[in-house]
């Protein structure tokens, strides 16, 4: 059997110790009261307002985690390399491409998908339906998340700003002209509802 060469590693702060006793004393002295540290590969995620604790492999993308492992179908794989926007999710308030983010690097982050946006009855969903801002629907969730992130940041966007924000989202059916209409109407609904409160 191979001789153990590792020293004792503190799971809280990675300091090494010669003996287990030393480690124990250190942990009690320095880290008592702290929550138990996560095993390697375990991440915490707030996804659509719900808390998750998931064991991930280092090579998993955030898209793979959300779509294939957690079963949320909205972040779609269209181009496979960060060129189409279909897998867009909102992470810590910013629209990001979930196919280009490693899940293991997302520990502690807050992520929002189209499902979450729909569940909070965000007006975008209904204005998208109303204006036919979809055809085959495959890229639609990526537009919804991009649009939601835009409205969160800019509640009163000009049409040019909307077009610029959506410049990275590909739609092969060519539904593009409908998106600014849907987003402008949703922005108006949001402003009216906030003004009324």
């Amino acid at each position: 059997m191979k001789e153990r060469t590792n020293k004792y590693l503190c799971p809280y702060c990675s300091t090494t110790f010669e003996t287990f006793e030393d480690l124990k004393n250190h942990a009690l002295a320095v880290h008592a009261g702290e929550p138990a540290p996560l095993p390697e590969g375990m991440i915490r995620l707030t996804l659509n307002g719900e808390k998750y604790q998931v064991q991930v492999q280092p090579e998993w993308t955030l898209n793979y985690l959300i779509h294939d492992k957690l079963g949320l179908t909205s972040p779609k794989m269209f181009c496979d390399r960060g060129a189409c926007g279909s897998c867009t999710v909102i992470m810590n308030g910013r629209p990001i491409l979930s196919c280009m983010a490693l899940a293991i690097e997302c520990d502690g982050n807050t992520v929002e998908t189209a499902e979450g946006i729909a569940d909070q009855e965000h007006p975008l969903v209904e204005t998208y339906v109303k204006h036919h801002a979809m055809q085959c629907g495959y890229c639609t969730p990526g537009f919804i998340t991009t649009a939601k992130a835009l409205l969160d940041k800019n509640p009163d966007p000009a049409e040019a700003e909307i077009r610029e924000a959506l410049g990275g989202n590909l739609c092969r059916c060519g539904t593009y002209p409908q998106h600014p209409k849907a987003i402008l109407e949703a922005a108006e609904i949001l402003r009216d509802s906030e003004g009324g409160e």
Binding site: K76, A118, D119, Q135, C136, G137, T140, R172, Y176, P177
Partner: protein, 813 residues
């Protein structure tokens, strides 16, 4: 209306010159705006399910080997290391003794293809071996461990080189003589005579480079065996063909034991549906699922999706004779087409279909090269629309005439003028209207043609760019050669209507349209009608949700609704039930069905609408005595009752390709551009689409095909080009970073208009629209750019480089 009569009508629609002889009087749901899309919430929330989303317990992933060479044969293959890799569950080799020599892999009709070939005819072709493993990663690793000894063969990429006498053979096993698969020609009159009699003759050559469809969801499928029978999830436009093919793979499993699901489809645009070879991986998945006893999913890589191209790739050579007044006397259009499926298409059909041009000769050579197969990619008419636009606009330019005048001077059909066409319209029962003129009026006003059109190269804008404006036109091709079936039933308890049919949705909002037709025909409220997709009940609509929604399926829905309505009114006037204790009288005693009608889901007496009964009351409730719930207690009827109400209808229509079928609806399109003569950059600033769709079912859905098609067309015209390395035959840009499709920023203002002359062969005089705009718009860029810079650019896509070349600012290729 008797049931027999409606069946007679279905038969009547097989008439080649059929039209809607029994139109509705009132359109309350058909043509309505603001009808909520049935698929809207599901798609906007990301919860709509696509085949790529399907995951099953224990599912394995299939990956197939692709050829690194454009033409090569496998001499030897060692798969031992891959077999030993943990997580690999099955391997299927080309030399597996259980593999048949050929199998029906579907496509455009039954086919006989090698399911796992050992010869690759293009780089990227699935060939040699398929692997299933616990994860995609393991399957990819297994492929890397497979050692293949290839014998490379000479290859061809260029159609002209392929025609040279000493050219190598691109597909020697299939075409051992030479690389010319076949030659066809559309012809009438005498072109040489027409050219010699013309005041003037112009000759020019055009090249269309390869482009592809880029459907957002890649080709994919899932298969699982339940006991002795398979269950499939497919991304495909023709589930009925898959079912036939799949059954044949397993010693003709009875069709009623093959189960199919068609989830939503992330874009199809034709393409993959017509290729048999792409079903090879599906075949392997089915076999390996059976062998391993586990579900198997296969999906092409994004790059793999790029190997299927559009069938307009090739070179075109035109000679056109015309007179000083703009009448065209002869068109010779010769096409050399690269690898088109089903023997190619065009380039002469639209001169036949739309013009009075007396002399036409349009031969096409179908040439094999070592690139992927090309097929109908929204759509097969691309060679035709391109030829038509470029010839018409070139003649106008040569004469310095308004191209709209040239259009009017040549409008007609089959070499005949408008008088002849008017007679044909009347002959098949339409009320003749001049569709082109109606489309022109709307379009000219929308684009402000009178003020904007100018001599070429004369309008410099304040921003320093050159302004250009272009115009084109053609007919609406209703792709209505097909058949489909639909069923409908009334639900118990509330009398709502379920339309039963297989889903094959790729986004054109057809299911909502079917509900509008059914509600309108039945007299039901729209919210009481729902398209209930049945995954595998056998109700296969025609190419569901691709070419022929309205043209064929619209008819089937209409027939079915009329049959169901007849049955409802019959039930309302017939005894509801006869039991051991006697007969229960009709809801409307002493009435005949023809005395009743339905409006807003209420059955009423025509002469006295106060006598009424809701459809919900008619069907009765479901309760403790079973789903039909007729129950007597002490001789009294406890629950109202009527017979179950179900109808089934079909449409079998002889389409526009079978014999001559004059097309009466026209479309016009206008495009404005700005050309930067320093950089060669073209900006499309405004497009106006005017389509005579005969009769509008859903205005928003029609508009969706217009602006959506315009975006696709603009991208094709400006930058879509699949590039192969001439030295290695390898595709260089099979991804969405290096192959650009249009983004929201690539077209500015799109203005869409619809015309309804009711001169189509669909129900209510409707015709299709989905294929048209993306097919007509690409070539329209050439006259628009010509108008801006005074130079014709006949190499598509019209890239900045080609603009600068035309302006003489850089050297040619």
């Amino acid at each position: 209306m008797s049931v027999q009569k409606e069946y007679d009508r279905m038969i009547e629609m097989e008439d080649n010159l059929g039209f809607d002889k029994y139109p509705l009087k009132d359109f309350d749901q058909i043509g309505r705006t603001n009808v909520r899309r049935l698929d809207g919430k599901e798609k906007a929330s990301g919860r709509a399910e696509y085949t790529m989303d399907i995951q099953l317990p224990g599912m394995l992933y299939l990956k197939f080997l692709t050829s690194p060479y454009p033409h090569a044969e496998i001499k030897h293959m060692d798969t031992r290391k891959a077999e030993a890799l943990p997580g690999v569950r099955g391997i299927l080799r080309y030399d597996d003794p259980d593999l048949p020599e050929v199998a029906d892999l579907g496509g455009h009709g039954p086919t006989a293809e090698k399911p796992v070939p050992k010869v690759a005819y293009f780089e990227g072709e699935p060939v040699g071996v398929a692997v299933v493993a616990d994860s995609e990663g393991i399957a990819e690793e297994a492929l890397r461990l497979i050692q293949v000894e290839w014998e490379e063969r000479p290859f061809l990429l260029d159609v002209e080189k392929a025609l040279e006498t000493d050219a190598p053979l691109a597909h020697p096993e299939i075409y051992p003589e030479n690389n010319l698969e076949v030659e066809h020609a559309e012809t009438h009159g005498d072109v040489e005579k027409g050219l010699s009699e013309a005041d003037r003759v112009v000759e020019f050559k055009v090249t269309r480079r390869l482009h592809t469809y880029v459907s957002p969801e890649r080709p994919c499928g899932v298969v699982r065996w339940n006991g002795d029978y398979p269950e499939f999830w497919l991304k495909h436009q023709r589930p009925h063909e898959n079912k036939r093919a799949i059954s044949s793979w397993f010693d003709h499993i009875p069709m009623n034991r093959v189960e199919m699901h068609m989830p939503y489809q992330g874009g199809t645009f034709g393409g993959w549906t017509q290729f048999p070879w792409n079903q090879g991986p599906m075949y392997c998945a089915a076999l390996l699922s059976k062998k391993t006893g586990r579900p198997v999913k296969y999906a092409f890589e994004r790059r793999g999706d790029f190997y299927g191209g559009s069938m307009d790739e090739g070179n075109y050579h035109f000679r056109v004779g015309f007179n000083h007044d703009g009448t065209i006397t002869a068109v010779e259009a010769k096409a050399h087409l690269s690898n088109p499926m089903w023997e190619g298409f065009g380039p002469g059909n639209h001169f036949e279909d739309n013009t009075r041009i007396p002399n036409l000769y349009a031969p096409r050579k179908v040439i094999k090269v070592n690139k992927g197969p090309n097929t109908a990619v929204r759509c097969e008419q691309l060679p035709n629309t391109m030829s038509f636009t470029l010839v018409m606009d070139r003649v106008a330019a040569e004469l310095g005439m308004d191209p709209i005048e040239v259009a009017i001077k040549n409008d007609g059909a089959k070499g005949h003028d408008m008088q002849w066409l008017t007679e044909r319209k009347a002959e098949v029962g339409f009320t003749p209207r001049d569709s082109l003129k109606e489309c022109l009026e709307k379009g000219k006003a929308a684009i402000d043609w009178g003020n904007k059109w100018h001599p070429p190269g004369t309008h410099k804008l304040p921003n320093g760019k050159m302004h250009g404006i272009g115009f084109t036109w053609t007919h609406e091709w209703d792709d209505s050669c097909g058949s489909g079936e639909i069923a409908m039933r009334l639900e118990r308890n509330d009398g709502t209507v379920s339309i039963l049919g297989m889903r094959c949705d790729n986004g054109v909002n057809a299911e909502t349209g079917y509900c509008q037709i059914a509600a309108n025909e039945l007299g039901m409220r729209l919210e009481d009608v729902f398209y209930r997709p049945h995954t595998d009940t056998g109700f296969f609509p025609m190419c569901p949700d691709s070419s022929t929604n309205t043209g064929v399926n619209g008819w089937a829905v209409r027939h079915c609704a009329r049959l169901l309505k007849a049955k409802i009114l019959e039930a309302a006037t017939s005894p509801r039930a006869v039991t051991q204790r006697g007969m229960y009288p009709p809801h409307f005693p002493d009435m005949k069905p023809e005395n009743l009608d339905i409006k807003d889901s209420i059955i009423f007496v025509k002469v006295d609408p106060s006598q009424k009964l809701s459809v919900a009351e008619l069907v009765g409730t479901s309760a403790e005595a079973g789903p039909l719930s007729f129950h007597e207690l002490y001789g009294a009827e406890r629950h109202p009752f009527s017979i179950p109400l179900f109808a089934h209808a079909y449409q079998a229509q002889i389409g526009c390709y079978k014999g001559f079928r004059p097309k009466f609806c026209r479309q016009t399109h206008f495009m404005e551009v700005e050309v930067d003569t320093e950089t060669g950059e073209i900006t499309v600033t405004r497009v106006v689409n005017v389509n005579d769709v005969g009769k509008v079912i859903s205005p928003e859905s029609c508009a969706g095909q217009q602006y959506g098609g315009t975006y696709m067309g603009v991208g094709r015209a400006l930058f879509e080009e699949v590039v192969h390395d001439p030295a290695t035959g390898v595709m260089l840009n099979g991804n969405l970073l290096d192959y650009k499709i249009a983004t929201i920023e690539d077209c500015q203002d799109i203005d869409t208009h619809l015309v309804e002359t009711q001169q189509g062969y669909g129900p209510y005089g409707a015709t299709g629209i989905g294929e048209d705009i993306a097919t007509v718009v690409p070539a329209l860029l050439a006259p628009a750019v010509y108008n801006a810079i005074g130079e014709w650019i006949y190499e598509f896509p019209i890239t900045p480089e080609r603009v600068l070349k035309a302006l003489g600012k850089i050297e040619g290729e």
